[in-house]
Amino acid sequence: MIEFLQMLYDYVNYLGAVALFIIGLHTVVTHSNLIKRIMGINIMGTAVFYFFIAIGNVTGGLPPILTDTPGEYINPLPSVLILTGIVVVVSITVYSLSLVIRIYETYGTIDQDEIAKINERENADD
C-alpha cells in the first residue's frame, strides 16, 4: 500500500496531467455552452503542455540558462515545444471567441442545444 502511494506520489505530475486532460475533454464534450467548451479546450491544452514539462523535469535540476552553478540542467526541448504550443492554443481560443460573438448576434444565445432547436425550426419552415 505504502509502495503504491509512493508510486502515485512519484507519478503525480503525469497523473495530474492526465486528470486535467480528461476533465478538459469532458468539458468540451458534455457542455452545451460555447464559452465553457472553449475553456475546456484551454484546460486540455494546458494539460498536454504540463505533460510535456513533466517529461523534461529533472529532480533538483537547474533552469536551462547556463550559469556557473554546478548541477544538471533540465531537458530544454519540451519547454521550447510548449512555448510554441501556448501561442497556438491562444490563437485558436481567440478565433473561436470571435465566432461566439457572431453566433450570439445572429441567434441570441450561446447554447448549443438552443441553437440546434432554432436551426431545426427554421428548416421545418422551408
Binding site: 486532460f21 491544452g45 498536454v48 505533460f51 517529461i55 485558436i92 478565433y95 453566433i103
Partner: protein
C-alpha cells in the same frame, strides 16, 4: 540550387500571403494576378522537383544546417513531390474558378483576406507534406485548421458560424490528441524526427508498450477526426456544405486528402507495418472503413441539399481511401493513392459544377434540378462525368481506382471486401443517377426567364471543363500518374 526549391516554394507562398495586406489599395484584379503568378511559379518549381527526385532520388533539407536530431528536417521524396505537384495543379484550377465565383456570399471587402487565407492554407499543406518532424506537423496542422475554419466562416451567414465553431472545436480536440501522442512518443524516444523515432521504436516497444499503444490510439483518433474517417465525420457535411463553392472544393477535394496523407505518413513512416499489425490496427481500420463506406452513402441518400449530399459522399469516399491503406500492402497503398488523386479530381469537379449551377440558378435543393442539363449542358455534363466516376463506370478515373482496390483486396485474400465495394458502388449509383436522370430527361419547371444557355465567365467554365477532361484522361490512360504513384509508394518503404 534545386535543393533550395522546397523552402523557396514555402517562402514564396508565405510572402504572397504577407504582402497582400500591405497593398495600399487592394484592387481585386491586382491581388488575383499576383497570386496567380505565385501559384504558377510554385507549380513549375514543384514539377522541376518531381523530375529531380524521379531522376536523382530523394533528398533531405536541414533547416539551419543542423543535424536531424537537433533541428527540423524536410524530406523531399517521391511521395512529397507527387502530391505537392498534384495539389498545386488542382489548386490552380480552383483558384481560377474562384476568380469568377468568390462572390458567393463573400463581401467585396473580404476578397483580399480570402486570398491571404488561401495562400496560408497552401503553405501549410505543402509544409505538412514536406516536413519530417512530428512537432512541425502539429504546428502546420494548427495553421491548416485555423485557415480551413476561417475560409468557411468568411461567408457571413449564421449556419457558417455554427458549423465553423463545431469544426474548430473538433479540430482542436484532434490536434491536442495528436500532440499528446507526440508527447508520449517523445517521452520514450527523446526525438521528434520521424526517421529517428522510427529507428528507436522497435527497441522501445519491448520496454514501454503502454506508451506506444496510447500514442497510436491518440494519434489515429486525432488525425481521424481531421480526415473525417468514419466515426469522426460529424463535422464534415455541415462545414463543407456551408462554405463557398470554391472553398468546398478545396476542403473536400484537397484538405481532407492532405490529412489522409499525414495518416499514411504516420502509419508507415513512424510506426511501421510490423508494430501496427501486432496492435491489430489493420483490422480495426478495415472494419471502420467498410462501415463508413456503406453508412456514408446511406446518409447521403437522405439529403435534400445537394452540397450536403456531396459532403456525406466524401465521408464514404474517405472510406475507400482508408480501406486501401488498411490492407497494408503495396497494391493497397497504390490503390489508395490513386483513389486520393482520382477522388480529389472527382469531388472538385462535382463541387465546382454544382457551384456553377448555384451561381446561375441560386438553387441548392435536389428536387428543383429538373431539366437543368438542358439549361447548363457543360456544367451538368461535367457533373455527370464526375458522378459516373463516383459510381465507378469504366473510362472514368473512378473505375480504375475501384478496380485497383478490388485487386488489392483479392491479393490480401479478403474477398468479402469486394462485396462491400460493389454494394457501396450500387449505393452511390442510387443517389447520383436520379439527379442525372432528373436533370437531362425531365422538362425544366420554370424555363421562362432563363431559357438562354449558360452564360458563365470563362474563368469558371474553363477549370470545370479541364477537370472533366482530366477525369476521362486518367480513366483511359491511368499510367500517366501510375509511375509517380509507384515512386511514392516505394518511398514509403515498400
Amino acid at each position: 540550387m534545386i535543393e533550395q526549391l522546397p523552402i523557396l516554394n514555402l517562402l514564396v507562398l508565405l510572402s504572397t500571403a504577407l504582402v497582400i495586406p500591405l497593398f495600399k489599395k487592394r484592387t481585386f484584379n491586382m491581388t488575383l494576378w499576383f497570386g496567380f503568378f505565385t501559384l504558377f511559379f510554385v507549380f513549375i518549381s514543384s514539377i522541376v522537383l518531381t523530375y529531380h527526385v524521379y531522376v536523382h532520388g530523394a533528398f533531405y533539407y536541414h533547416l539551419g544546417g543542423h543535424a536531424p536530431f537537433l533541428g527540423i528536417e524536410l524530406l523531399i521524396d517521391g511521395f512529397a513531390t507527387f502530391f505537392t505537384t498534384f495539389v498545386l495543379g488542382l489548386l490552380i484550377l480552383i483558384y481560377s474558378y474562384s476568380a469568377g465565383d468568390a462572390t458567393e456570399g463573400i463581401s467585396e471587402k473580404e476578397y483580399g483576406r480570402y486570398y491571404i487565407l488561401l495562400f496560408i492554407l497552401l503553405f501549410a499543406m505543402l509544409g505538412i507534406i514536406y516536413t519530417n518532424d512530428l512537432f512541425n506537423i502539429y504546428v502546420f496542422m494548427e495553421i491548416l485548421s485555423i485557415t480551413t475554419c476561417s475560409i468557411i466562416s468568411i461567408k457571413r451567414k449564421k449556419e457558417n458560424y455554427t458549423s465553423a465553431f463545431r469544426y474548430v472545436m473538433l479540430n482542436e480536440v484532434g490536434s491536442l490528441s495528436f500532440l499528446f501522442g507526440v508527447a508520449l512518443i517523445y517521452m520514450i524516444t527523446g526525438f521528434t524526427n520521424i526517421g529517428l523515432v522510427a529507428d528507436a521504436l522497435p527497441d522501445v516497444w519491448a520496454l514501454y508498450p503502454a506508451n506506444i499503444i496510447l500514442a497510436v490510439g491518440f494519434m489515429v483518433i486525432g488525425i481521424g477526426i481531421k480526415a473525417a474517417i468514419f466515426p469522426f465525420h460529424v463535422w464534415l457535411p455541415d462545414a463543407h456544405a456551408s462554405a463557398p463553392s470554391s472553398s468546398s472544393a478545396i476542403l473536400s477535394g484537397i484538405v481532407i486528402k492532405v490529412y489522409a496523407l499525414i495518416f499514411v505518413k504516420m502509419l508507415f513512416r513512424l510506426y511501421g507495418v510490423d508494430l501496427l499489425t501486432e496492435l491489430n490496427i489493420p483490422i480495426i481500420l478495415t472494419v471502420t472503413a467498410s462501415v463508413g463506406m456503406v453508412l456514408g452513402s446511406m446518409f447521403a441518400m437522405a439529403q435534400k441539399d445537394i452540397k450536403r449530399m456531396l459532403g456525406y459522399s466524401s465521408v464514404a469516399q474517405m472510406g475507400y481511401i482508408v480501406l486501401g491503406i488498411s490492407l497494408f500492402s503495396y497494391l493497397g497503398l497504390r490503390a489508395a493513392f490513386f483513389h486520393i488523386t482520382s477522388h480529389a479530381l472527382l469531388k472538385s469537379a462535382l463541387f465546382l459544377s454544382v457551384g456553377a449551377i448555384i451561381y446561375k440558378q441560386k438553387e441548392r435543393r435536389i428536387n428543383h434540378y429538373d431539366g437543368i442539363g438542358k439549361l447548363m449542358p457543360l456544367s451538368m455534363g461535367v457533373f455527370t462525368i464526375a458522378a459516373l466516376g463516383m459510381i465507378g463506370i469504366p473510362i472514368t478515373s473512378g473505375f480504375i481506382s475501384k478496380y485497383n482496390l478490388g485487386l488489392a483486396a483479392l491479393d490480401a485474400n479478403q474477398t468479402i471486401l469486394i462485396g462491400v465495394l460493389v454494394f457501396s458502388g450500387l449505393l452511390n449509383a442510387m443517389y447520383y443517377l436520379p439527379i442525372i436522370i432528373q436533370a437531362f430527361l425531365k422538362e425544366p419547371k420554370t424555363p421562362v426567364y432563363m431559357i438562354k444557355l449558360e452564360k458563365i465567365p470563362l474563368t469558371m467554365m474553363l477549370p470545370i471543363a479541364i477537370l472533366g477532361l482530366a477525369i476521362l484522361t486518367l480513366g483511359i490512360y491511368p499510367n500517366l500518374v501510375m509511375n509517380l504513384i509507384d515512386l511514392a509508394v516505394e518511398s514509403l518503404g515498400f
